[in-house]
């Protein structure tokens, strides 16, 4: 089995469909063509740049360059994860919470994969370390930001419920337990949906890529399962860490509800 190598012309042909959309947008006055043009241009430039960078780093096999790329990817993920929620914790709390949750869960999942299942040589080989970290990061930051949004928005909305319990002498952990469980469940919903739909509703991305690149479907599925297990495990961990850290920042030594530490973005 060999892969069909794409030529630049093939990509231009694929863009013809978008050109049709653009023409429709102009003809029907939908005002879509501008955004779609920008998004398309951005996608192509972004990916070509990444491709070029990855090719260089893979060839160089430099630990410093690998670490640099992983650091940039992680920082972007943390920034996005912290910025999405509608509420902000005081003293850059969103960054601290998302940073610890996304960083720790991703590092754990990536190290687990690189030292056990994949075992490339060296273990940080960029060809493995970068894509594995990337796919786990993408899922962990999405989960963390949804969970954080759930905890912060939920605490603000359920102030009367939480304080009713505090006023009766319940612990802060008991008073916020249902809120945290709910936020974690909501945060994990996309990952759980992705797992349930895998292969039935859509062929997941990794598998699609490997099959198109000429791999045997069973081999592609094994990779897909490995990555899915890693990203689900890391995401659940990220959700739990996020909820607990965020809750800790919403209380104090007297187990009060400290909504004064919360601002709306």
């Amino acid at each position: 089995m060999s892969a069909i190598v794409l030529q630049p012309g093939d990509l231009v042909t694929a863009a013809a469909l978008l050109a049709l959309d653009g023409a429709l947008s102009v003809a029907l006055g939908l005002g879509l063509h501008r955004v779609m043009l920008i998004a398309t241009a951005r996608l192509v430039v972004q990916l070509l740049l990444i491709g070029a960078v990855l090719r260089t780093v893979f060839r160089s096999e430099s630990a410093a360059a690998t670490l640099g790329i992983l650091a940039v990817m992680t920082l972007v993920a943390i920034r996005e994860g912290a910025a999405r929620p509608r509420h902000r914790l005081a003293r850059h709390g969103n960054y601290a919470v998302a940073g610890l949750a996304v960083g720790a869960s991703t590092a754990l999942a990536a190290l687990l994969a690189l030292t056990t299942a994949l075992r490339p040589d060296p273990w940080w080989n960029p060809r493995y370390a970068i894509p594995v970290t990337g796919i786990v990061l993408g899922s962990a930051f999405g989960t963390a930001s949804l969970t954080l949004d759930g905890v912060l928005g939920g605490a603000a909305a359920a102030r009367a419920e939480i304080e009713a319990r505090l006023a009766l002498g319940h612990s802060f952990a008991a008073a916020t337990g249902p809120l945290l469980a709910d936020a974690i469940r909501r945060g994990l919903m996309p990952v759980l949906n992705q797992m349930a739909a895998a292969g039935l509703v859509t062929l997941p991305g990794t598998m699609t890529g490997q099959i198109l690149a000429g791999s045997d479907p069973i081999e592609a599925v094994k990779y897909q399962i490995l990555l899915m297990l890693l990203l689900a495990g890391a995401s659940a961990l990220a959700a739990i860490i996020t909820a607990r850290l965020a809750a800790r920042r919403l209380t104090d030594g007297r187990q009060r509800l400290r909504l004064d530490r919360l601002a709306t973005a």
Binding site: A158, R159, A160, E161, I162, E163, A164, R165, L166, A167, L168, G169, H170, S171, F172, A175, P178, D252, G253, R254, Q255, R256, L257, R258, D260
Partner: protein, 194 residues
Amino acid sequence: MTAGLRARGLRHAHIGPFDLDLPPGTCLAITGPSGSGKSLLLRMVADLDPHKGEAWLDGVGRSTLSGPDWRRRVVYAPAEPGWWLDRVGGHFPAPSPDAARLGLSPDIWDRAVAACSTGERARLALLRALGAGPAVLLLDEPTGALDHDTTLAVEALLAERMRAGLGLVLVTHDAAQAERMGTMRRRMAGGRLA
């Protein structure tokens, strides 16, 4: 050791400092215009907001207890009570035997909180707070939503508990209620007790 609730120098942004002395079985009734800081005072005593000052219950300093341990003994019942479950009964370890004398129907425990009237919820919140077994109860407008007869029934229940030693800090708009219930009466104006 001083029996009952004592507080010194309770202070928060624009209100206070307040000193309170509430022996067991007495009621401090506080009246005053809306926004004068009555609810904030109760929240400070319950330690629900950050503030300065110290409080003691039967000589035991609040700062030597955890927040929940203090709030189990000094229970705050806000004017707009919160409900964390759908069903009324879930908020009580067991149906309260005092529900009937407050005019609550015996089937109320199986009802949804959302299906109860404001007046029913006010009485349920009071029973819930009493059920926690507090030494001191901080009541914010407990009868604001009740008719005259039900108000008197609530007052009778509270007076009975006071005879058993319960201390009461009662915030009310009703001067006649302050007259009936208050062992001591103070007026809050501009964040100060007069």
